[in-house]
Amino acid sequence: MVDWPRLKLSRRGVLAGTTVTAVAVGAPAFTEASAPPAAQPVPTASVTFSVNGRERRLALDPRTTLLDALREHLHLTGTKKGCDHGQCGACTVIVQGKRINSCLSLAVMHEGHEITTIEGLGTPDRLHPMQAAFIRHDGYQCGYCTPGQICSAVAVLDEIARGIPSHVQDDLTASPRATAQEMRERMSGNICRCGAYSNIAEAMADVAGDNA
């Protein structure tokens, strides 16, 4: 059985969505037919990876997603959980140099990997150029999608520089260019409920222009 008294239901705890809190929130309606499983220790698996340049070793329930490991275990809450199903991009982080949805990946699948989150891109006193451009161009309203947007935007410019093609490219064999149309297509995996899209595109164009 779940050890109820030990669960502190802070607001953070309720929002956390880890497996334990999920049980607490989803008020169990156990009937005789579906009795709760007998008490068993939660199996753990250990994983070591580097987050923002710092090595981290964790013992986790194998079900823990990379997103929950970052937020709930390492307390790097900059990365956000929107949908938890790969549909919104709020959880975007950069792993081994590539942007991924951290909600659709298990933490244990990232042994030895280098992970960069929004906290690792820049700090309030030393902003990453993309963070600075988002501020300059008002690339957000509520800010919830913003860490994912910025991680994605940084990776998009890198993908263009590496010649990764996109759906809107007319000539597939040509090198892609950082046009507004390209930026929009490549950022389609990041949804913004506030609709800050045009300012996000401008922030990206600004950074892309600086690099050109």
């Binding site: 497996t19 939660v42 199996p43 698996a45 329930d61 194998p62 079900r63 997603t65 938890d84 199903h85 790969g86 991009g89 975007t92 590539k98 942007r99 991924i100 949805n101 659709l104 990946s105 298990l106 244990v108 699948m109 042994e111 994605s152 990776a155 998009v156 993908e159 010649g163 990764i164 093609p165 996109s166 759906h167 490219q169 597939l172 064999t173 929009r184 297509e185 490549r186 950022m187 389609s188 995996g189 990041n190």
Partner: protein, 316 residues
């Protein structure tokens, strides 16, 4: 999510044995489909065998002049490969029309082929679904079926195979290479890889339990102009309502397969032979015997128009 144990495989046959011998064991590659479904408890594996270390990450020329694509090559890397962009552009185009940049960075060639349907009732564990729970019925028949299949479906399931990459692979006559728990390998033509649902919609493909995909091979390039036209509810990051993969030769002949309409990439060779006569002739034959619902009968004219657009571009 139900609890499971996790292991990292280092050898293909050992991996195949681990999955074949243990009921409830499954491979995990990119995880972008399996974990999504596990969170909803649509999929409830008790053991995961992570295949990321098996090394199937190369794209190589075959002695026959084709290409061999490792099962773990990501969608991003496959679409960006120089040979693929030049000689198999329909494949790059189809992949780039699917999912998002983040997802394509994780999605693998093998996992993409095995992605499960997007039927909304398959995802909703409160509803009857023969694919999720054999024998429970099909909530989509008589339910909301706008996205679902119009041809090749059955009275037990009207879902589609939702992917894009496989539609291009069908036009290219790809082969799927596998290995099993005894070390036995086989090559399965993509035409026969995905099943029609018939009375067994719980089984998507002809793979045996534990059979591991190691690679996808392509025959030598076809030449011609390559197209992937995807029609969807928004311009990006959405599944196809209808898609058309086509390779059109200068004389107007060619190959064509449709996505978003059937349990598998839908290619009818006798229909594509009518390409020089225009889109109407092709789709009339390709969708002969179609059984659309009131919600999705728009897919039939949409397929014709999408193909007409492709043919017009080929002539332009």
């Amino acid at each position: 999510m139900r609890a499971f144990t996790y292991e990292r495989a280092t050898d293909p046959v050992a991996a195949a044995r681990a999955v074949a011998q243990r009921p409830g064991a499954r491979y995990i590659a990119g995880g972008t489909n399996l974990l999504d479904l596990m969170k909803l408890e649509v999929e409830t594996p008790t053991h995961l065998v992570d295949v990321q270390d098996l090394g199937f990450t190369r794209i190589e020329r075959t002695p026959q002049g084709g290409l061999r694509i490792g099962a773990l090559v990501t969608n991003t890397d496959l679409a960006a490969d120089d040979h693929v962009r030049r000689d198999y552009a329909v494949l790059s185009r189809a992949i780039l029309a699917g999912a998002s940049g983040q997802l394509r960075n994780k999605a693998t060639t093998g996992g993409n082929l095995l992605q499960r349907t997007r039927c909304p009732y398959f995802y909703d564990t409160n509803m009857a679904c023969n694919k999720r729970r054999p024998g429970s019925g099909c909530a989509a028949i008589g339910g909301y079926s706008r996205q679902l299949g119009v041809v090749g479906v059955s009275t037990s399931c009207i879902a589609t195979f939702p992917g894009d990459m496989a539609v291009a692979l069908r036009v290219l006559d790809a082969m799927v290479e596998t290995i099993d728990a005894h070390g036995q390998t086989r090559s399965i033509p993509i035409a026969g890889f995905h099943r029609l649902w018939e009375d067994k919609p719980q089984q998507d493909t002809v793979l045996a339990p534990g059979e591991l995909i190691t690679a996808v091979t392509l025959p030598p390039p076809l030449g011609g102009q390559h197209f992937y036209e995807k029609v969807r509810d928004r311009a990006s990051y959405a599944f196809a309502l209808v898609s058309v993969a086509a390779v059109i030769q200068p004389d107007g002949t060619g190959r064509v397969a449709f996505g978003g309409v059937a349990p598998k990439p839908w290619r009818v060779e006798a229909a594509e032979a009518l390409l020089p006569q225009g889109a109407d002739a092709v789709t009339r034959q390709a969708f002969e015997g179609a059984t659309p619902t009131k919600d999705n009968d728009f897919k039939l004219p949409l397929a014709t128009r999408a193909l007409a657009y492709v043919i017009a571009q080929a002539k332009a």
